[in-house]
């Protein structure tokens, strides 16, 4: 192992900022991060061992104890569950002889759940040793259990199992006008960089991650900072349950995304860029490296881009399973090889980002759009959309509809139109913008896709009338409790308390004051959390509570109080040990 680690350390040039890269390699090879490896790394990188342990324990894909040689992760996002993931999990557990959350006694296989894998349009999905398996069903499970028992390496499994479809159902402005490699950069040089920034400004482009900050303004702020070193970062940590558009953009239009990054770098004066790719998309890594290599060969990256003497290159850094890293300052911490804990702001990344240097962080789709705007002009983009929300938005549509996949619409399009296009019927409501966004009921189908109405990073999950509001709110609330980074008290403790309180109501143990308590807790999280995760973690509760107060009230018993834990179950241990089962050995949950 010592030799292996030395080799890997050499490939990362002994840079502590690349700690996640090296840990990924150790995890892949040894199925965990052995303590001896941590000691060796601490020594070689001259960082405290605690810093490495903190990283290992922060990210879901790193483990201090060995995982199976076949590591199966089942996506437990609501869309996967709606497609039968719970039955898959039970069937797999039975066939493999290992319960979720465990490694089988022979160490061959481990089974776990994981947050949304970004295959919502072709779920239920799994990652097996990092490779995506879409549309998992009992037949596939039967086969894969056989392959595992025969210890056939994953590389030799039927290749078709790992096919992932792009499912582009409705291309719009951007997807119908993609550019050729170098087209945007050439146009920018011809027009001049300042004039190109002007075009981006005139296009009205706003960040596509959901927050909607004006892109030209962000780039200008970064360019105006007094610094010798600047960075451009592409946020491909697409973790919001229900979004997968970045997966498709990177799979099919990576060239244009890299072109947008290069354009940004030329404008702000950066010579280093990073693509921060979520760990769940590691299977895209090699193809993306190939694109980067080709672009270098084409003179579109590297020391002398298009012969203009500008230097810029892009490194891909992989995440390791942490939703919070989609928050830009947490992403930067992760890029620096640390736990993804959001920073205090100000300062903002444009003035103090990666290694405390001015840094532009934009979404995959933003860079894609910027490259297109450089080629086609600002007016081309601004000609569609609304006054406050120019251009189009690429949506990831999943859930109850006939044709899930990628849809692109001009801003201002109504929800009703989108639902009709994707073949949704008997609709109860739509989760727009993922769990951190808004749940709207079908009554609101005339609302529009726009920053001024329904803002979204792209997640669009449809629920039909057979679905329960509580299943939805509960799945999302559990998700936030699982993904809270734990830095600030309101979110660390509040997301877990919210989960308990919602469970209490959903499971029918709620009484008179419990909805008020739920709402009060939600507001506390919203008001005082450190970052967007905590501030939006109660949105699933608040937006459903606002629309269906009567459903919540109906869950409550008309008594003054009921315990939030199972009283009779709390006696079980004592009952067994005393070998009793008489009437006095039991408790009613509420008094008669």
């Amino acid at each position: 192992m010592q030799m292996f680690i030395q080799e890997v350390l050499a490939t990362i040039e002994h840079q502590p900022v690349r700690l996640l890269t090296i840990l990924r390699k150790i995890q892949n090879r040894y199925r965990h991060i052995p303590l001896a490896a941590i000691e060796q790394l601490a020594e070689a990188l001259a960082i405290p061992r605690t810093q490495i342990i903190a990283v290992v324990e922060f990210y879901s894909f790193f483990h201090l104890t060995p995982q199976g040689r076949y590591e199966i992760l089942l996506s437990d996002s609501i869309t996967d569950l709606m497609l039968g993931q719970a039955a898959n999990a039970r069937y797999l557990a039975e066939k493999l002889g290992v319960e979720p959350g465990n490694v089988r006694h022979d160490g061959l296989v481990s089974l776990n759940f994981t947050s949304c894998t970004g295959l919502c349009d072709q779920g239920p999905a799994a990652l097996i040793n990092g490779l995506p398996v879409a549309q998992l069903d009992f037949a596939k499970i039967d086969s894969l259990v056989g392959l595992i028992d025969q210890q056939v390496p994953v590389e030799q499994w039927p290749a078709a199992w790992f096919d992932v479809n792009d499912n582009i159902q409705h291309p719009g402005l951007l997807l119908n006008s993609t550019i050729k490699p170098g087209q945007g950069l050439a146009a920018a040089w011809q027009r001049g960089l300042a004039a190109t920034l002007q075009q981006i400004d005139q296009s009205g482009l706003r960040g596509r991650g959901g927050a909607g900050f004006k892109t030209a303004q962000k780039w200008r702020f970064c360019a105006e900072e007094n610094s010798a070193q600047r960075y451009v970062v592409c946020n491909a940590d697409e973790g919001e349950p229900g979004t997968f558009k970045d997966r498709v953009l990177l799979n099919r239009y990576a060239d244009q995304v890299f072109e947008g990054m290069t354009l940004s770098a030329m404008i702000v004066g950066a010579n280093q860029g990073f693509l921060y790719l979520r760990g769940e998309y590691a299977y895209l890594y090699q193809a993306l490296e190939a694109v980067l290599l080709r672009r270098r060969q084409q003179g579109l990256l590297g020391a002398n881009i298009l012969g203009h003497g500008v230097s810029f290159d892009i490194e891909i850094r992989l995440g390791a399973g942490a939703y919070i890293c989609g928050e830009e300052s947490a992403l930067i911490e992760s890029l620096e090889g640390k736990p993804g804990i959001p920073r205090n702001r100000p300062p903002y990344p444009v003035s103090s980002g990666y290694l405390n240097q001015p840094t532009v962080v934009n979404n995959v789709e933003t860079f894609l759009a910027a490259a297109a705007i450089a080629a086609h002009g600002g007016q081309w983009f601004a000609s569609v959309g609304t006054e406050k929300s120019a251009g189009s938005k690429i949506l990831s549509i999943s859930g109850d509809c006939a044709r899930p996949g990628i849809y692109e619409y001009a801003f201002g399009t109504t929800i009703a139109r989108i639902l009709a296009d994707c073949g949704a019927s008997e609709v109860l409501g739509v989760q727009v913008g993922g769990p951190s966004g808004t749940f709207i009921s079908i009554e609101e189908a005339d609302r529009r896709l726009a920053f001024e109405d329904l803002a979204t990073g792209g997640s669009f999950i449809i629920f039909n009338r057979s679905r329960s509001i509580f299943d939805i709110a509960k799945n999302f609330t559990d998700f936030f409790a699982h993904e809270s980074c734990g830095f600030c008290s309101p979110c660390r403790i509040g997301t877990s308390l919210l989960k308990k309180q919602l469970d209490k109501i959903v499971l029918g143990h709620g009484s008179v004051g419990d909805v008020v308590e739920l709402e009060s807790l939600s507001n506390l999280l919203k008001q005082y959390s450190h970052c967007g995760l905590g501030q939006t973690a109660a949105n699933p509760v608040l937006t459903t509570l606002q629309r269906y107060p009567e459903l919540y009230q109906q869950q409550l018993k008309q008594i003054s109080y009921e315990p939030g834990f199972d009283l009779d179950a709390a006696l079980e241990t004592a009952r067994q040990m005393a070998n009793r089962d008489d009437a006095a050995a039991h408790l009613q949950q509420v008094e008669d």
């Binding site: 004051g513 003054s560 109080y561 315990p563 939030g564 834990f565 009283l567 709390a570 006696l571 079980e572 241990t573 004592a574 009952r575 040990m577 005393a578 070998n579 009793r580 008489d582 006095a584 050995a585 408790l587 008094e591």
Partner: protein, 179 residues
């Protein structure tokens, strides 16, 4: 004269220290009994709580009997008060929550030093233990909380006189402590 306020008190998983502290109001007891009378309490022989104005609960909930007594109080008392650290957060008895109940019982009745005739008590007369000791607000609705281990006599006095005079009880800084 208006009828007296009826007050009931009990100790669940507590040490009666809160009751002792209550008695420390000393001669103020005489003033208290002018306006209040005791229902079920260690101070009386009443076995079951009848309709009362105020119920004072010392101790947390550690076994099935505690649950029944607590419910009896909740049903009969207009105002239910959690008194002392154990009622508020489980207190010292809740320090067993960090040890699995099975281990606690085995240590106490089978494996511990000096145990003779080792067996887990199984008489149906004995209440079974809950897996965790709970504060009373996790089992019934509680109206007021008096922190302290124990709350001082002055806390009892300030609280009860406020209720008797129809004021909202309010504890000043000096009377709020958790130990």
């Amino acid at each position: 004269m208006a009828s007296k306020l009826r007050v009931a008190t009990t100790s669940l998983a507590g040490c009666f220290g809160c009751h002792m502290s209550f008695l420390d109001i000393d001669e103020r007891l005489l003033a208290l009994v002018e306006v209040a009378e005791f229902d079920r309490s260690p101070l009386t022989d009443i076995e079951h709580c009848g309709p009362c104005d105020i119920g004072l609960i010392e101790g947390g909930v550690c076994n099935a009997e505690n649950v029944h007594v607590l419910r009896e109080f909740r049903k009969n008392c207009k105002i239910l008060v959690a008194v002392g650290a154990c009622a508020l957060n489980g207190g010292l008895p809740a320090m067993r929550n960090m040890i699995p109940l099975q281990d606690c019982l085995l240590e106490a009745y089978r494996d511990g030093i000096g145990v003779e005739n080792a067996q887990i008590p199984c008489d149906p007369e004995l209440p079974l233990l809950l897996d965790k000791v709970r504060p009373i607000h996790e089992v019934v609705k509680v109206d007021y909380f008096l922190p302290g281990c124990p709350p001082s006599a002055d806390v009892f006095w300030a609280f009860l006189t406020a209720l008797i005079e129809g004021r909202q009880p309010d504890l000043p800084y000096e009377l709020v402590h958790y130990d």
